[in-house]
């Protein structure tokens, strides 16, 4: 049966005012036309609006703005998957298969990282693949998080009375393992053992945005089966993975996750709630004198969970927290890597970059990995996940003691 959410649209045009892409790209017909208006026409003829769907960033700001609860971004994402003209090429395969590329790259990370940084490879990728040469690729870790976990952490996790599962996602596994390791450290200090899911596949967000819906759905089924099997909270450190698992699975891929949706949570929300209920106690060192500019990523804004991140950060003594006005950084995952999108990507991010510079902070905090690449590349400011900031500021011994961890 049709998903009729699009008919809640009352054509108020609000979404169009908050679309970062329509603001800079005259070829994009905007969220209203590509989304609910288009959906209505596509019931008659699938080819409608086909040509314009590729411009959508999937930032979901239209959904946050919509007074009618229309899942505009999901509608567009779904139409894109069903569109006949939108077929992934080699570039899309490479960018979207974060999982596969990660497993290939990590064993050779010193070489791969060096190669990715070379001008000549950047030019080659630009020319052959259409990946913009101005982009800095995130570097690969020398050992995946999962490998490290099995080697170093797995054994000790079972001793904790309380257990949670961790959906680490690709970035924390292949690229930035400090985040995943910090997360384990933090949870352990709070008295929680961290377990990995039976099988974890890439959440599929990049597959969805690059037109590979079938593969995304296959991976999604595996993930949901593992999450079901876990039967305990499954925590994440990536906002985008969280949003994909919770919202895009049912709305875009048609995977029913109603039974486990509430189990999937951003770790920050979980930790805050436990702190508030007294089940977790945090002790921080008092030498963390920092001004932190908090950037609410698009998907965090959509989740509506930035309140937990900021409240946790505010608990760190000595932290001067500035919450930046939430605006899109422009990269939107693999989107900004594509040559044809680079200029738009940077134009969209300009406002945020200016705000970051104005805030004159020591560090920028955000949960989104691709925002991190974009902001670091475009402003030179260091960007950290709040989990890392919390872990760094944590008085581990004191916290362990408070939570009764021996």
């Amino acid at each position: 049966m049709q998903d009729k959410n699009f008919q809640e649209c009352v054509k108020c045009t609000v979404c169009t005012a908050y679309c970062p892409m329509a603001a800079v790209n005259p070829s994009y017909i905007g969220p209203k036309q590509a989304g609910p208006d288009g959906e209505r026409y596509r019931l008659k003829d699938k080819a409608f609006y086909d040509y314009a769907l590729k411009y959508c960033l999937n930032c979901k700001r239209c959904e946050t703005a919509c007074p009618s609860g229309v899942r505009i971004g999901d509608i567009i994402a779904k139409a894109k998957l069903e569109s006949e003209s939108f077929k992934p090429g080699l570039r899309e395969m490479i960018l979207a298969n974060t999982d596969l590329m990660g497993s290939l790259a990590v064993p050779f990370s010193p070489i791969v990282n060096k190669a990715l940084g070379l001008d000549i490879s950047k030019k080659a990728m630009d020319g052959i693949l259409g990946i913009d040469h101005r982009r800095t690729f995130p570097s690969y870790a020398s050992e995946t998080f999962v490998h490290w976990y099995r080697r170093k952490a797995a054994r000790t996790q079972k001793k904790f009375e309380r257990q949670i599962y961790y959906f680490h996602g690709c970035y924390a596994n292949y690229n930035f393992t400090k985040l995943s390791k910090d997360f384990v450290r933090l949870m352990n200090a709070c008295g929680y053992g961290v377990r990995l899911l039976d099988k974890e596949k890439c959440c599929g967000v990049a597959l969805i945005s690059n037109g590979m819906g079938k593969q995304a759905a296959r991976q999604g089924k595996i993930n949901l089966a593992s999450i079901r099997k876990a039967g305990a909270p499954v925590l994440t450190t990536s906002t985008t993975c969280t949003m994909t698992l919770r919202d895009e699975y049912p709305h875009v891929l048609g995977l029913d996750n109603a039974d486990v949706r509430e189990n999937i949570q951003l770790a920050l929300k979980f930790i805050y709630e436990k702190v508030e209920s007294g089940e977790i106690k945090l002790a921080f060192r008092d030498d963390c004198r920092k001004r932190i500019a908090y950037h609410t990523s698009c998907h965090m804004e959509r989740l509506g969970w930035w309140i937990y991140a900021t409240r946790l950060l505010e608990m760190i003594p000595g932290v001067d927290l500035r919450i930046l006005e939430s605006s899109c950084c422009g990269i939107s995952g693999t989107y900004g890597f594509k040559k044809e999108n680079y200029e738009y990507s940077q134009a969209i991010g300009k406002k945020l970059f200016d705000n970051i510079r104005d805030a004159a902070a020591d560090i920028v905090a955000t949960e989104c990995e691709t925002c991190k690449w974009q902001i670091e590349m475009s402003t030179g400011f260091e960007v950290q996940n709040p989990i890392c900031i919390l872990a760094d500021a944590l008085d581990v011994e004191a916290t362990r003691a408070l939570n009764g961890v021996r």
């Binding site: 809640e8 009352v10 609000v14 169009t16 005012a17 005259p26 919509c66 509506g304």
Partner: protein, 425 residues
């Protein structure tokens, strides 16, 4: 559509909480003004806002109350039917609240024009002169006796949500002559290549930058013998000064006329109010929907929202400022009208056939449906007043906003009234 979140999700989770002093449901004009007023006195507030508000369709002015020729606001208030929300506020208090609204906007960096004692006139996109009480400073506002003689009406080439011809014919009814012209600069022509998104907001994004001075030059070249210039309100989206700065570049007195939606002045008003609220330490949760709450012994204790799942928001006071039907502060089903969060008592009458008038321009009965409140704007549930839950703005019953000309003003006045009730406790 309005599923209670409490029924979703697994059972192993217990509720968690986040505490505030006051929680406001609705992030439109009334929610924001109420939140700012409370935050200004140091209270910790949360605003939960389901999407954008009707400020996105604003005329750039707040109508307080229609008055007859020579009539004072106090006399007009006296005339209102008993069920009108203004009737719950003493006229002297209402006078002070009007002053307070203007002061609050000023502190938020919003320049306005108003006279606490009487209406002035705003110009609608059709050129109709309409009574209003408070206008954003860049918006066209006049005394009826002091209308310009000949107006240059300028449009940006290709912009469809503003029609100089319709505006001109309305002005002609007032004896005002006009010239019409279209101007463009490189940037507006580029933006125009977008066949569906050449809207007020995207124009403003372009015109708030360097293009403004060239546009001003183009306009100045067309002034001729006109003594006043009117342009569509496509300036000053986020900056509080861009619109005024642009108007100052023109060689004759000039002002802006609202466009069809989205409304740039309304969005800016909202942006600046939101900014002010956050600067005062307020938490503005956008895109989340209040969906359930806990009421214990005549008091509301907690609110549940759709995005937060098992996390509850607790507070001392709650304000229902979720707007009317459009904003889903109220829901109209086929047979009943209800308030979606708690199922509060709603004033409405008759069955579906009685809710609407066949004449679209008559005051529609459904527009006056809303929450039943006591003299202090406290809401009630199943006949019992909730001692710490209030309502403000369009969600209130009895307003008849078009007949009484109180769209916007009602939201502002009742919001501040509720804030003062909460603060005085």
């Amino acid at each position: 559509m309005h599923q209670k979140a409490g029924k979703n999700g697994p059972s192993f989770k217990e509720d968690a909480t986040m505490r505030f002093d006051d929680i406001i449901i609705g992030g439109g004009l009334s929610g924001l003004l109420c939140g700012i007023s409370l935050a200004e006195s140091g209270r910790k507030c949360l605003i939960v806002s389901q999407g954008q508000s009707t400020l996105n369709f604003s005329s750039g002015a707040l109508d307080f109350l229609k008055t007859k020729e020579g009539e004072s606001f106090e006399e007009a208030l006296e005339r209102l039917p008993q069920e009108h929300p203004y009737k719950k506020i003493a006229p002297e208090k209402c006078f002070l609240l009007r002053a307070e609204v203007a002061g609050l906007l000023d502190r938020a960096g919003i320049g306005t024009f108003s006279d606490i004692r009487r209406n002035h006139w705003r110009i609608t996109p059709l050129g109709v002169l309409s009574q209003t009480w408070l206008s954003l400073e860049e918006m066209a506002h006049f005394d009826k006796e002091a209308l310009p003689e000949k107006v240059l009406i300028v449009n940006i080439s290709g912009f469809l949500d503003f029609s100089p011809s319709l505006l001109a014919s309305g002005l002609a009814e007032q004896g005002v002559r006009s010239e019409i012209c279209e101007v463009s600069v490189r940037e507006t022509d580029t933006a125009r290549a977008n066949s569906s998104e050449f809207r007020s907001v995207n124009l403003a994004r372009v015109l708030d930058g360097y293009a403004a001075s060239r546009l001003a030059e183009a306009v100045n070249g067309k002034i001729g013998d006109c003594d006043f210039i009117l342009l569509p309100a496509v300036f000053g989206l986020e900056s509080d000064t861009a619109a005024v700065r642009f108007l100052q570049m023109l060689d004759k007195p000039a002002a802006l006329v609202p466009t069809m939606n989205p409304s740039v002045p309304g969005i800016r008003l909202q942006y600046l109010l939101k900014k002010r609220f956050k600067e005062l330490g307020g938490t503005f949760l956008a895109g989340d929907t209040a969906c359930d709450g806990i009421v214990e012994e005549g008091k509301m204790t907690a609110l549940r929202t759709r995005a937060q799942g098992n996390s509850l928001f607790e507070a001392e006071n709650f304000v229902f400022a979720g707007g009317s039907f459009f904003s889903e502060g109220l829901i109209a089903g086929k047979d009943e009208i209800y308030e979606p969060v708690l199922g509060l008592d709603v004033d409405y009458s008759g069955s579906h056939g009685d809710w609407f008038s066949p004449d679209v321009f008559e005051e529609q009965p459904y527009m006056s449906f809303g929450l039943r409140t006591d003299a202090d704007f406290r809401v009630s549930l199943k006949g019992r007043t909730l001692e710490n839950a209030y309502a403000a703005g369009q969600i209130l019953s009895g307003a008849a906003p078009f007949r009484n000309g109180c769209l916007g003003g009602l939201s502002a006045i009742t919001a501040l009234r509720v804030a003062s009730m909460i603060k005085n406790e």
